[in-house]
């Protein structure tokens, strides 16, 4: 055990820190759930990419800088500490990216990954279908092979920011007689292809954060299939752990929220006096975020020694999502009557940022596999409890 960073790691931290302090926009970008904000974020991602700071763990020739997991953690720490913008292309970068790395042909990798890292291509995911939700294998959309093409018909839903994005990826039933997780293929589809219709779905905050994507005889070349035809389920599952795992929500995000909460409490206590229950909520938040960070370094250490991340991803998912809720609930309590105010309100204490976070935190236990599903996975895969 050696809990010190080496020189290379320290140098990388310094470089990232300095670059961010010179480049993070002084004014927060607009919400990436709006067209304008989306493009602002695309621009920011381009800037990151230019400095090889978009996907630090990707190989150099695909637009990254070949960092290891420790360096990635360092990057994340500095990124969140600097208050840099939210990452807009994570569905591509974190879900499709690793899949392409593992299953993509060389041509596919070079075609998609650098443009994904730079956000020249923005990606939406098409995991869910109506009436499917957490049941990912109940895919009804079809992609039938016709010569060198697939003809796609069907519907995806809960595609994050699909109305602004350029591409969508997902599972399609390429064998029309198959059931459940058999006979599926993993395809990528340009959202401007003829036959694609996108209908926005407004989120809690009133913004078009999701969309339904309809496919009506949409044709894509067979080269848009990732992995073997009919093997889509294994292709998707091999990296599905990533979505739930470490990369999606790095500890730094929650450590930064915890730090802001500590600041909010100090301010609260200065105005209203100490409050034991709120103090404890703040301490619990800080400890929860810190424990998650330490667990991440611990896991990363094990991974570097050859261990595989398994159902631990599910533990992380449950922990950060519930931690995020608790932190925002505590913040709302401290804001008191002003907690309900949205940004732009003259009486808002923080221009509505805690409120926006509170709303988004509500989705945490739902997206990327509901916490109920995660708890089933922990119980069944880690503890060996029998399926119902």
């Amino acid at each position: 055990m050696q809990l010190k960073f080496n020189e290379k790691q320290n140098a990388f931290r310094t470089e990232v820190r300095e670059w961010l302090s010179n480049n993070v926009p002084a004014e927060p970008l607009q919400s990436y759930d709006t067209r304008e904000g989306f493009e602002q974020h695309r621009e920011w991602e381009g800037k990151l990419y230019e400095n090889r700071l978009s996907m630090v763990m990707w190989p150099q020739d695909l637009g990254g800088r070949g960092c290891d997991l420790i360096e990635w953690l360092i990057f994340e720490e500095e990124y969140y500490a600097a208050g840099a913008p939210m990452r807009v292309n994570q569905n591509g970068q974190l879900l499709l990216g690793p899949t392409l790395m593992e299953f993509g042909t060389d041509e596919q990798k070079h075609r998609f990954l650098p443009r994904m890292a730079s956000s020249q291509d923005m990606w939406a995911q098409g995991w869910s279908e109506p009436d499917a939700g957490s049941d990912m294998a109940s895919v009804r959309s079809k992609a039938i092979r016709d010569g060198d093409e697939y003809v796609i018909n069907g519907q995806k839903t809960w595609s994050t920011r699909a109305i602004y994005a350029d591409w969508v990826f997902g599972l399609f039933r390429s064998d029309p007689d198959s059931k459940r997780h058999h006979g599926l293929s993993y395809l990528v589809v340009p959202l401007d292809a003829p036959g694609v219709t996108i209908r926005p779905i407004k989120a809690l905050n009133g913004k078009d954060a999701f969309a339904e994507v309809f496919f009506d005889d949409v044709r894509v070349p067979a080269s848009n299939c990732i992995g073997e035809e009919g093997q889509g389920w294994s292709v998707a599952m091999a990296t599905a752990g990533f979505e739930r795992g470490l990369l999606l929500r790095s500890p730094a995000r929650f450590q930064q929220t915890a730090k802001r909460l500590v600041d909010l409490y100090r301010q609260y206590a200065a105005n209203h006096g100490e409050n034991g229950a709120l103090r404890d909520a703040v301490l619990e938040s800080w400890m929860g975020a810190e424990a998650y960070a330490q667990a991440a370094y611990h896991t990363v250490g094990l991974v570097e020694k050859g261990a595989k991340i398994g159902a631990e991803s599910s533990i992380n998912k449950v922990i950060w999502s519930e931690l995020d809720l608790k932190m925002h609930e505590a913040a709302m309590e401290m804001l008191g009557a002003y907690g309900e105010l949205r940004g732009g309100s003259p009486a808002a204490l923080d221009d509505g940022s805690w409120l926006e976070g509170f709303l988004f935190a509500q989705a945490g236990p739902i997206y990327a596999g509901t916490n109920e599903i995660q708890r089933n996975i922990i119980a069944e895969r880690m503890l060996g409890l029998p399926r119902a």
């Binding site: 009436d131 957490s134 779905i201 009133g206 709302m332 907690g339 949205r342 989705a363 997206y367």
Partner: protein, 352 residues
């Protein structure tokens, strides 16, 4: 000892419930959210016609003279249908305040009569509740100032508009200059009146929160029965069942505290602050649990604007700190039950 409502009270509540159900279905609620004013005078007028405006105005001033216990039922209905209107602020809180002022206080009888007729909107402004709903529509405001009661007309105060997460809830802060002209009662009369008013404000929030909790439960139950996953209605999964069972538990234990508090207020119980704060905490907590479990049961759908759930969740969140934060009310409970020689224990459920 009879801890139930009369047939008449229940029948009135039922009538109002039917009326609101018909007049303010979720579609109408959505339409009202999109208006500039956030509230409509038609709806206000119709509610007045149903007797809501006159409910607790004294009979002498043309009202029905009903007390806080009636409002403990009706505010639940206002919450259940997430009525985008500050009717209770005028007809319950302001009316209660005016009634409590000495007879003959400037404009007292006249304003009460107008409340009963449904021809006036009166906002009540108190430091504990800095964001005032529908202040921009108010004809008059009754304002707390150093324990005194001030009455100001719309043209005499500034209204700083703010945007709530609940887009049917239009909240503002008031700015005005207190003067002897605006004062209608001094601190000697005012302090007691304001203590009661604060309790009415909090109790109205408690009742609405409880109604919201029930509505969120009903929406979630409907969804859980109808929505299928892994080939079964999700309501057949234990995780869903147990969450909704906990919502029921929250509602059922909050309900009697609401009624207890209303009774205390109506009967001048010396420990009304304690009972009101208990009710406020329990009802708001029930609503918070209903919102959290409700959205979880709804899954991604619950996170959308399209599902009706969001309108009720947002109202519940907004009401959480309205008329006193949780800490404010916990402190009031502590001030009572942790004091020396206080009457607590099983013998003092009602006569402390």
């Amino acid at each position: 000892m009879d801890f139930t409502f009369t047939e008449d009270q229940l029948a009135f509540k039922e009538a109002i419930s039917r009326f609101l159900k018909t007049e303010v279905p979720p579609e109408v609620l959505r339409d009202i959210c999109d208006t500039e004013e956030g509230s409509t005078s038609e709806l206000r007028q119709k509610m007045a016609e149903q007797g809501l405006a006159a409910l607790s105005v004294p009979e002498n001033q043309g009202g029905l003279g009903m007390d806080d216990t009636a409002w403990s039922l009706l505010t639940q209905e206002l919450g259940y249908y997430a009525i985008p209107d500050s009717m209770a602020d005028t007809a319950y809180v302001a009316s209660g305040l005016l009634t409590a002022l000495p007879e003959g206080t400037q404009q007292r009888e006249q304003l009460l009569e107008m409340i009963a007729e449904g021809s006036i909107r009166i906002a009540v402004v108190h430091g504990v509740n800095p964001l005032v709903v529908d202040l921009h529509l108010a004809d008059k405001a009754l304002v707390e100032h150093e324990g005194e009661v001030h009455l100001v007309s719309r043209e005499q105060f500034d209204c700083e508009r703010n945007t709530s997460i609940d887009s049917s809830r239009r909240v503002s802060r008031l700015n005005f200059s207190a003067s002897s002209a605006s004062k209608i009662a001094g601190a000697d009369d005012g302090s007691g009146v304001w203590a009661e008013t604060l309790n009415r404000g909090a109790l109205a929030v408690a009742g609405k929160s409880l109604g919201l909790a029930q509505r969120m439960l009903d929406l979630s139950v409907d969804y859980a029965i109808q929505r299928k996953q892994f080939g079964k209605p999700i309501g057949s999964f234990q995780a869903v069942k147990h969450k909704l069972a906990d919502v029921v538990g929250g509602i059922e234990t909050a309900k009697p505290t609401l009624y207890r508090a209303a009774y205390a207020l109506a009967n001048g119980d010396a420990r009304a602050d304690l009972y009101v704060s208990h009710a406020k905490l329990a009802c708001c907590q029930a609503a918070m649990v209903a919102a959290r479990h409700g959205i979880q049961v709804h899954g991604a759908m619950g996170y959308t604007w399209e599902a009706d759930l969001q309108m009720f969740m947002k109202r519940a969140w907004a009401l959480q700190a309205s008329w006193g934060t949780a800490e404010f009310h916990r402190q009031r409970v502590a001030d009572d039950i942790l004091a020396d020689g206080v009457a607590i224990g099983p013998q003092y459920t009602f006569e402390g």
